[in-house]
């Protein structure tokens, strides 16, 4: 006897258990039942759901969202309490009317509520100046005081002539590291190093484009090692090597020619020879003059100054004019 129970699954099972003899009819019946059970299940579940909600409505209501916190924020609140750490953008806690996104046609960028674009990007709401001041205050207990003797820039430069610069990068992406953070720049003024004339010239020649003539600084930039510590060590090593090498004098440095000289020197130059020749020829025959005496004349000295200026500083109208005056004085025009 089939006992019909309201529960459909149980009822189908019952029917299958009862009608075991008629297999083909069973199969078709079971099939029919399975189809019908599927159909009826879906129908019944919705029914039951509606019924369930109605049932659950008394127990668990979907809460309506209350007013956002921003309504209750005062202007002079403590922001560091709202965003103490790095957190994603929460539209209900940030009281700014921010819009972001691509506007639809003849529209405006979408508002902040439910805006995925604002949530995706990194924000620095936890790093406002007030927050940073608080960080500094908190860190102060771990810091030592600035030495009182170093109160001016000149004193700092005098005691610590080497300046090392490197960059820190803050990023909130997939990886926190930035490969550019390993670059180290070392700047030092050559006047603060103990170099004599030959060493200084050699150092400038070895440094090539790393030396800036206007500010007298040698800048060494290293980025060949993967870590900043390694790069710093390498830069210090380069400085030491340059310093020691420039003090040494090699055997082949004796062969330095006029073309290698950094500055124009008037002694032993073709210019000096020309002037000497001319002056000697201009002397009346029979009068013997020492070379030093000839060179020591004020007119010759002035000529020398103008020549040095012309060659070292480049040629300008002014320099040329002074050269003309010097030549005129030399030959008493």
């Amino acid at each position: 006897m089939a006992a019909y129970i309201t529960h459909p699954a149980l009822s189908s099972l019952c029917k299958i258990n009862c009608n075991i003899n008629a297999i083909y009819s069973l199969i078709s019946f079971s099939r029919r039942i399975s189809i019908s059970s599927v159909l009826s299940t879906s129908a019944v579940t919705t029914e039951s759901e509606a019924a369930g909600q109605g049932v659950r409505g008394q127990r668990r209501s979907k809460r309506q969202a209350g007013e956002p916190r921003t309504e209750r924020m005062t202007v002079d609140q403590d922001w560091t309490a709202v965003y103490p750490t790095a957190a994603s953008f929460k539209p209900s806690t940030v009281p700014l009317p921010v819009r972001m996104g691509y506007p639809v046609k003849r529209g405006v960028p979408p508002a902040k509520k439910g805006n995925l674009e604002l949530i995706k990007i990194p924000n620095f709401l936890h790093l406002t100046p007030v927050a940073i001041k608080k960080h500094c205050e908190a860190l102060k207990q771990f810091c030592t005081e600035w030495p009182s003797a170093l109160d001016s820039d000149e004193k700092c430069m005098k005691h610590f002539p080497i300046q090392v610069q490197s960059k820190e990068f803050v990023s909130a992406g997939l990886s926190l590291k930035n490969p550019d953070a390993r670059i180290v720049t070392l700047k030092v003024k050559l006047s603060s190093l103990n170099l004599d004339d030959h060493a200084r010239k050699k150092m400038i020649k070895l440094g090539e484009e790393r030396y800036c003539k206007d500010t007298d600084t040698l800048t060494i930039t290293t980025d060949s090692c993967p870590l900043r510590q390694q790069n710093y060590d390498y830069a210090m090593y380069l400085l030491t090597v340059l310093y020691h090498e420039s003090w040494k004098t090699e055997a082949w440095e004796q062969e330095k020619t006029r073309a290698d000289m950094e500055e124009y020197e008037w002694e032993d130059s073709p210019s000096q020879k020309n002037v000497l020749d001319t002056l000697l020829r201009m002397r009346p025959l029979g009068a013997k003059d020492e070379v030093e005496e000839l060179l020591g004349q004020p007119a010759v000295q002035e000529y020398r100054d103008t020549m040095l200026r012309l060659k070292n500083e480049g040629e300008t109208e002014e320099n040329l004019h002074k050269y003309k005056e010097a030549v005129k004085k030399l030959f008493n025009i």
Partner: protein
């Protein structure tokens, strides 16, 4: 003709500061003799058009003339270098000073443009006397012809030393200069060496105080002197570039530039217009002469030539008006004059080209 400050027929000796801006006329006989090829080509056209050659008296030329007047000719010659931007009148000033020298009776060695000797030479022969050098017979013989025209009165006065040209030809001691020049002109092959010999002779004999009749002052005027130390655009037979040192003419000219002789003056002008391999903006002596040239030329007196000032421009404008060169009616008005000033920035050559179109 004296119109608005054009003083004609006044010799350069009498030019002074008060004459700046005024034009003076070059006597036609002098033009023919002194400047067969010396004047700038546009100026030569202007002479033909106006039927007279008028040169403006300007401060650089006056300065040079004053130096020449005061110089001591028993001492080595002073070198004067005229420099300035393109078209400011360096060649014209040089010609002005040369005219002064000519009227004073000096012997003039004038090379109108040294750039012509380092480019576009059709024939380049290996030198007959020295194996490593090259001759330029056409240029040399042309120069000898011009020299002959300019310095006719000296041709018989200067006596020569002995020179051997080939196994059969030689110049005996005591022969006059004219014969040597004739030989150079006739026999093209040895003309470059003849030039060298002429220059050497003049160098040795200039300013000789004991000669008496044969005493003369020598002026060496070279335009475009930066050609002597620059690069050439000539190629040797094996397609390598020729150095200026290897050309006989240039070599001898460089020897003239040195001041190891006495009794004269060396006037030079730099020029960028004809130079090879030099940028257009270069106009200072160091840039154009190069290191080598500067070292060889110094100590020299640089004389700078600049654009017209107000007075000179006024004078030039009035001269063109007087010659009826400015045909356009607007150019006679004040506005037209201001336009001209604006367009040419008072640069002499640009002004001349502008007015030619009006």
């Amino acid at each position: 003709i004296i119109l608005n400050g054009i003083t004609a027929h006044l010799l350069p000796t009498y030019h002074s500061e008060g004459h700046t801006g005024q034009y003076y006329m070059l006597p036609p006989a002098h033009i023919q003799k002194l400047f067969p090829y010396g004047l700038p080509p546009r100026f030569q056209l202007q002479i033909k058009t106006f039927n007279e050659g008028c040169v403006m008296v300007r401060p650089p030329a006056l300065e040079l003339i004053s130096y020449l007047k005061r110089a001591d000719y028993s001492k080595p010659p002073l070198r004067y270098v005229l420099h300035g931007d393109i078209g400011t009148g360096k060649t014209m000033s040089l010609c002005h000073v040369l005219h002064y020298c000519y009227t004073q009776g000096w012997l003039i060695v004038h090379i109108p443009d040294a750039h012509l000797w380092i480019k576009n030479c059709k024939e380049l022969l290996p030198s007959s006397s020295r194996p490593s050098r090259f001759d330029q017979p056409i240029q040399a013989s042309q120069w000898l012809k011009n020299f002959k025209i300019t310095n006719e009165r000296f041709l018989s006065k200067v006596q020569l030393d002995r020179y051997v040209w080939t196994k059969r030809e030689s110049t005996k001691k005591g022969q006059p200069l004219g014969e040597l020049i004739d030989q150079g002109v006739n026999r093209m092959k040895s003309s470059s060496d003849v030039v060298g010999a002429v220059l050497r002779e003049l160098r040795l004999q200039a300013g000789g105080t004991t000669e008496g009749e044969g005493a003369f002052k020598l002026t060496v005027a070279v335009d475009g002197v930066n050609a002597l130390w620059g690069k050439t655009s000539l190629k040797k037979e094996d397609r390598t570039m020729c150095e200026p040192e290897e050309l006989t003419l240039i070599h001898n000219l460089r020897k003239m530039m040195k001041n190891n002789w006495s009794g004269g003056a060396i006037l030079t002008a730099l020029s960028q217009t004809g130079s090879v391999f030099k940028p257009r903006s270069a106009y200072l002596p160091n840039e154009l002469l190069g290191e080598e040239g500067f070292d060889s030329m110094e100590p020299f007196v640089p004389v700078s030539v600049s654009n017209y000032n107000e007075k000179e421009f006024e004078s030039c404008y009035l001269y063109y008006l007087d010659r009826s060169w400015l045909q356009h009616p607007h150019s006679r008005s004040e506005e037209g004059k201001k336009e001209l000033i604006f367009l040419c920035n008072k640069n002499p050559s640009i002004l001349e080209r502008l007015c030619a179109a009006l």
